[in-house]
Symmetry: C2
Subunit: 400 residues, 2 copies
């Protein structure tokens, strides 16, 4: 019997309780041992909920109980999750978490603490909800030199972009509906500005290269400037627009960014719709592999936490090693990254456009007073200089 405690009985925590209880038989068969939730920590009471029998309000009861081998930290936020996690690991208890903020900020350190105390710190649920991505990346792709990771890692923005495309609606209108339906927060900044996706690509990139990526080094651009006109142009290119969280290892330089991209229908990520998430990992030997599923939601996220619990339970008294060192991974500014750009300018003077932007591929204009076109490949800083010189750019979206 392996005894587990859950920190926080919110959405994910109550999901973990449900998955362990409902699928207990299956888990026992696969693990060869039984999992039992001995405690759930929450400040609140939950009358008429079976959790009440195992509910405690004091973390010390759990940290001081030598029977508890594994803790599911589903509180979210850095305080007090960081302190609780560190103390649990120091007492030899493995911790499995869905807390992306804590993992992004302190992942490398907490893995080190776990290693020193022969226990594990696992965080499959912190990226991509229920999608197995972290374990495949660090085990199934351990032999690969990762050339790039491209993810649709935020369900809210993918839902908004999908609806904008299908309904031909503009951003503000769709956001409002998404908020009414509970698919977007009242304050949607973390999602629509790309910060949530940025934290997740920071974690994945740290794991791909074994060094610490600082979220602050990641160029982050959201979807608030995308309009239905952009989708009309994308359609002409047999493409759609997706918010990509992307990191690239090219000629020994590392780039990481979150930004909208024009994505051709040939790219399997183009068909990832609504709140689904997906991650495409390109290795130097295996080429493209993609992982797809529900990027959020109570049971999907909880399922990923429980997968980690089973991994810890299989390795009790041992450290499940994850290579993620404190050493900083230098992220280059995107200025030197090279690609094609889809651009709209408030001008119909094609000669002037080509004089400035070089040879371009013109699209059919969606309104009489503008031109939409795709440039040839150039660096971000070259593009920036040309756009500044033009002075009439309505919008620019990078080409995948």
């Amino acid at each position: 019997m392996v005894k587990v405690a859950i920190f926080g009985y919110g959405t994910v925590g109550s999901g973990v309780f449900e998955v362990i209880n409902k699928n207990n038989e299956t888990i026992q068969k696969k693990l060869g041992d039984e999992l039992q939730v001995k405690y759930v920590l929450d400040l609140r009471d939950f009358e008429n909920d079976p959790v009440q029998d195992v509910l405690v309000h004091d973390v010390e009861i759990i940290l001081n109980d030598p029977e508890v081998a594994i803790i599911c930290e589903t509180m979210g936020g850095v305080k007090p999750a960081y302190e609780f996690t560190k103390r649990a690991l120091e007492s030899g208890k493995s911790v499995c978490t869905s807390n992306k903020e804590l993992v992004e900020k302190h992942g490398a350190e907490l893995i080190k603490v776990a290693k020193a105390h022969n226990c594990s710190y696992l965080f499959e649920a912190s990226v991509g909800g229920g999608i197995p991505i972290i374990r495949p990346l660090i085990t199934s792709l351990a032999q690969e030199e990762v050339e790039s990771i491209t993810g649709i890692l935020n369900g809210t923005t993918n839902y908004i972009l999908t609806k904008m495309e299908l309904d031909g609606a503009d951003f503000e209108a769709v956001l409002k509906r998404a908020q009414e339906k509970g698919y977007a927060e009242a304050n949607p900044e973390a999602d629509v500005c790309g910060y949530d996706a940025g934290r997740k690509i920071a974690i994945l990139t740290s794991l791909a290269y074994g060094k610490n990526v600082d979220f602050a080094d990641i160029y982050t651009e959201g979807i608030t400037a995308i309009t239905k006109a952009d989708f009309a142009y994308a359609k002409q290119m047999d493409s759609t627009i997706k918010l990509f969280a992307k990191s690239v290892n090219k000629n020994g330089k590392y780039y990481a960014m979150v930004a909208p991209f024009v994505v051709n229908s040939e790219n399997p990520l183009s068909s990832v719709k609504n709140v689904f998430n997906a991650v495409l990992v390109k290795g130097n030997m295996v080429a493209d592999t993609m992982y797809y599923g529900k990027g959020a939601g109570k049971l999907a996220t909880a399922s990923a936490v429980v997968a980690d619990v089973i991994d810890c339970a299989k390795h009790l008294g041992k450290h499940v090693n994850i290579v993620w060192e404190d050493e900083k991974l230098e992220i280059s500014t995107i200025d030197s990254a090279s690609r094609r750009f889809f651009v709209r300018v408030a001008s119909t003077d094609k000669t002037a456009i080509e004089q400035n932007f070089g040879k371009v591929e013109f699209l059919e204009s969606v309104s009489a007073d503008e031109c939409g076109f795709v440039t040839e490949e150039m660096t971000e800083s070259e593009y920036k200089a040309k756009a500044a010189k033009a002075g009439n750019v309505i919008n620019m979206i990078r080409m995948d």
Copy 2:
């Protein structure tokens, strides 16, 4: 230093040699130890190939060398791979393989032998080539009750179906071109009749439920009867046609089959094109997760073998447990499975059609002397009886 031997220097074996040598530094960083290929076993010589330095013709040299901890079995076929694998495991050497035939026939037994000798038998590369699917299924989804597995598991047939759709061509013509290009074998039976996909779904289903699925119990139907007319009807339904390898756990009964299905564009499997493979696993908690990548090819398949080598190297002297018992998993005949059917009959008498098949949804006929329609949901045996009574069915494809 962990010493490895490779059995067979064919396509996959030479790929394994290449992956281990080229990515040695990355592997060492992730594993914390170095991998070295000490021997390659092949009856042939390979002059001017670096493999020659480690080439041996006698398996006994490898089996009797206590330094060799892990063997990559990339010979294919049952003889002598079965005997070599068993002897290797009995001497405590872990075996990693791409040999789906051997795994499908003797997987349960060889895992048992490995367990008894504190070593491992791993076979990620036996299904889906480079796609991480077996490890995610047995680790990341260990907490899930698997409700269904649906795979595009054969690259040759997916290439043929993709080309038929894009070029509006018929099966025979596309097969001929595929053979010229080397995408299909001179004798394409194992691919186009669904046997290859059948072996793979047998393996995945055995792993999902921990009991042994007999390939002979799997209903197998190939793509040889699919025509361009079928694709024309599918297009009307915003769908395509894919060869699915599928197993379902419904009301305590297990079904497994390989057959062409009409797949709507909403299903992420519909956009898996050409030689790519993908597997959609539906769990009772996480819902749909999908895994996508190259289902074949030298380096992709070799990469999956090396992932297993790293896993074995992390667990030297221990057994990486896979639950796959000898006990047979009862597979129900598909007669009682229920679904809708797309049917073409050589008749234009819609009244007679509905008298026989019940209420149907008629499609626009693609030729003057036939009707195409979709039935309501019924069991396979109900459909069979109605089709026999009609006596004029041109083709039937199941609806996903």
